[in-house]
Amino acid sequence: MASNEQDQQPPPSGQPGSPVGALLRASRVRVGGDLQDIANSLCIRHPYLLAIEEGRFQELPGATYATGFVRAYAEHLGLDGEEVVRRFRAETEGLRNRSRLAFPIPVSEERIPSGVLVFAGILLFAVAYGVWYWQSTSDRDVAGLVPDIPSRLMELINPPAKAPPPAAPVVADGAAPDAQPGHEAPPVTGTPVVVSQAQPAPEQVMPPASESESEDPEVPAPPVTSVAATAPASPVQSPPVQIPPAPAAPVPAVPTATPPAPVVAPPAAPAAAAPAVVPPVAAPVVAAAPVAAVKGQEGGSRVVLRFTGNVWVQIRDEKTTLVTRLMRKGDTYRVPSRPGLSLVAGNAGEVEVLVDGVPAPPLGPKGLVRRDVSLDPDSLKKGSDGAAPAGEKTKEPAAAGN
């Protein structure tokens, strides 16, 4: 044992880190005690005493026990136990952190999920419901089902902003010598308000003359020809471009619907050219004149339908239906200048047909249902179309409304 002790001697002397350990070792060596004997006497295990002497305090079982061991060892060696313990505490201040008491916690056997899971589940459900709700409501929205208007047509709807609708009567400033303008004027003036509610469908389909001409090759052809027939000298573009102020005064409510000029006064062929060129001058004069605030097609339609009673009408070509609606008394409809259009009228007697401003032969007596009436201006003018199906007596007058 003594040899063992001798073996242990060198390290602590060269270890300045533990004065308490060195003090205890020095005291023991001075007394001549054997570490193992002291260990037996104090019932403290030899490794612990060795650790104390060598300053390896972290190897001791715990702060409380270490203090007790040091005190017992110091008192056994005849030292002042309290003083040695005080020094020992100062030395091991870092080690003597308060023991943390952590009681073992049983594993939770609850089947109810934790709050976080419940919250996440509720959140997920809410999100899923929101998505479903949004989906289902958008499905139900009929408007959503209709495809958007193509941008090409959107441009056609809005042109009035760029090119305000021209006033029909541009031509009317005295240039029209015939009785036709005069004859036509009263009904037109009476109708503007009503006409304002005319259906948009034809308008969308039929491009305004001024701009669509260049874009749309198939549609513009008739207007150009019709205008050309009456006023070859005047370009079609001129009215919309040059007469902005004119329509504003007479009918502010009809900007989108106002048709181009040629409809009312196509016959004033040569005269029309001149006023058309100088619209600003003519405009004030014209403003007083009735406005052809008729729902119809720009681009010079030659056929105008005027309704003297409530009539259900349908106008269509081979492929598409342009109009299907009940026309009220006083309504007028400018038939677009397109080939192959046909008319179905629930009450032929209440429909007045004007071809180039001139009343055409009536379509039939009151109460007669006319089908497949060609809206070709020439055939209407001739009235042959009207005469032929005369025998087709009304089978379903109810649709006419009266």
Binding site: G62, T64, R71, A72
Partner: protein, 346 residues
């Protein structure tokens, strides 16, 4: 911030309601009160009133006139006089709260591990009657071990011997619980009684309890000194033979003889506890040894006697008198974490 305000208002307390001394630990302030568990009651017109509590009352112990009684309401670690104990607790609560009458603190009181349900209920009810808002009980050995800084929650055995005024608690703790505990009703009081009996028997001198306690503190020893009589002390009392006051000198050796019986009772309790300890825990205890707490741990050479009796290293805790109060106070401070060492009778 909020809890601080409420903490000021309530000033929760941990009370080591000991047979000899009562220590009060206030949350956030530490031990604020350490006084003998003595109450002096005066009878005025047939109505009993508290005259003094604590140190002042202890001075009156054995020196009172007929209308004054100096009472120790606790005996053997449990309440012997319910009303007086209640008055004492009330006094301590008021003293801690600067005599504010509306204070109703949360109180943790420690109880001997060997106390019966009736005794525990008596302690809890007296604390509630004294104005406590809520009362929790903690077993003394657990409080002592926590206060001594033992690793009670680790899976390693720790043995603590708490020698109090009325009882000695021997317990083995591991994983935050008491594996085995044994409570013997031997403590400082029994030592005092042993000293009184020894002096009366051998010297025909009757000494009071206070004198006996003083003798124990000054020259008390668990084993006789190796050479000679050791330290000596003058003691005063009444001669039993002729009834006159008398003074004589008594030696450490004599007192050690007188204390042999209670000390052997403590050793026996420790040995019995060790016998009942599971081998794994016993292995841990061999490594680390026994920790002594309580006032009895200050009896000189008690650790030496225990070491030789058991063959285990014996350490005396730092500040053994305050260990139980500190442990109870720590349970109060870390109430959420140490909740499972607390109990209540309701």
């Amino acid at each position: 911030m909020f809890w601080r305000v409420t903490g000021w208002l309530s000033a929760d307390m941990a009370i080591d309601l000991g047979t000899a001394n009562t220590l009060v630990y206030v949350k956030g302030r530490g031990i604020v009160l350490n006084e003998p568990s003595v109450v002096a009651i005066v009878e005025v017109k047939g109505k009993k009133q508290v005259l003094a509590v604590g140190e002042e009352a202890k001075q009156m112990l054995g020196r009172t006139p007929g209308n004054i009684q100096a009472i120790r309401p606790l005996r053997d670690g449990v309440i012997a006089d319910f009303e007086v104990a209640e008055e004492m607790i009330k006094h301590f609560i008021r003293k801690v709260h600067n005599r504010r009458s509306f204070a109703s603190p949360l109180v943790i009181v420690c109880v001997p591990s060997g106390s019966t349900a009736v005794e525990r209920r008596a302690i809890q009810e007296s604390a509630e009657a004294a104005g406590a808002r809520r009362v929790y009980l903690i077993e003394e050995p657990m409080a002592a071990a926590i206060g001594a800084g033992l690793p009670v929650t680790e899976p390693t055995g720790s043995m603590v011997v708490d020698i109090g005024g009325g009882t000695t608690e021997v317990a083995v703790l591991s994983l935050g619980g008491i594996v085995y505990s044994r409570s013997v009703r031997v403590g400082g009081d029994k030592m005092d009684e042993a000293i009184i009996a020894y002096i009366r028997r051998n010297h025909n001198l009757l000494v009071g309890e206070s004198s006996a306690e003083r003798i124990k503190k000054e020259i008390g020893s668990a084993c006789p000194p190796e050479d000679g009589d050791g330290r000596t002390m003058e003691i005063k009392g009444r001669d039993l033979m002729n009834g006159v006051p008398k003074e004589l000198v008594i030696s450490e050796h004599q007192i050690a003889e007188s204390l042999a019986e209670p000390v052997s009772a403590i050793i026996e309790a420790v040995k019995v506890a060790l016998e009942h300890t599971a081998p794994e825990l016993a292995a841990d205890i061999v490594d680390k040894g026994i920790v002594l707490t309580g006032g009895g741990a200050l009896l000189s050479n008690l650790d030496f006697v225990l070491r030789h009796a058991t063959g285990l290293p014996v350490s005396i805790a730092d500040d053994p008198l305050s260990c139980v109060a500190l442990g109870t106070g720590r349970a109060l401070e870390e109430m959420k974490r140490l909740r499972n060492v607390l109990s209540t009778m309701y």
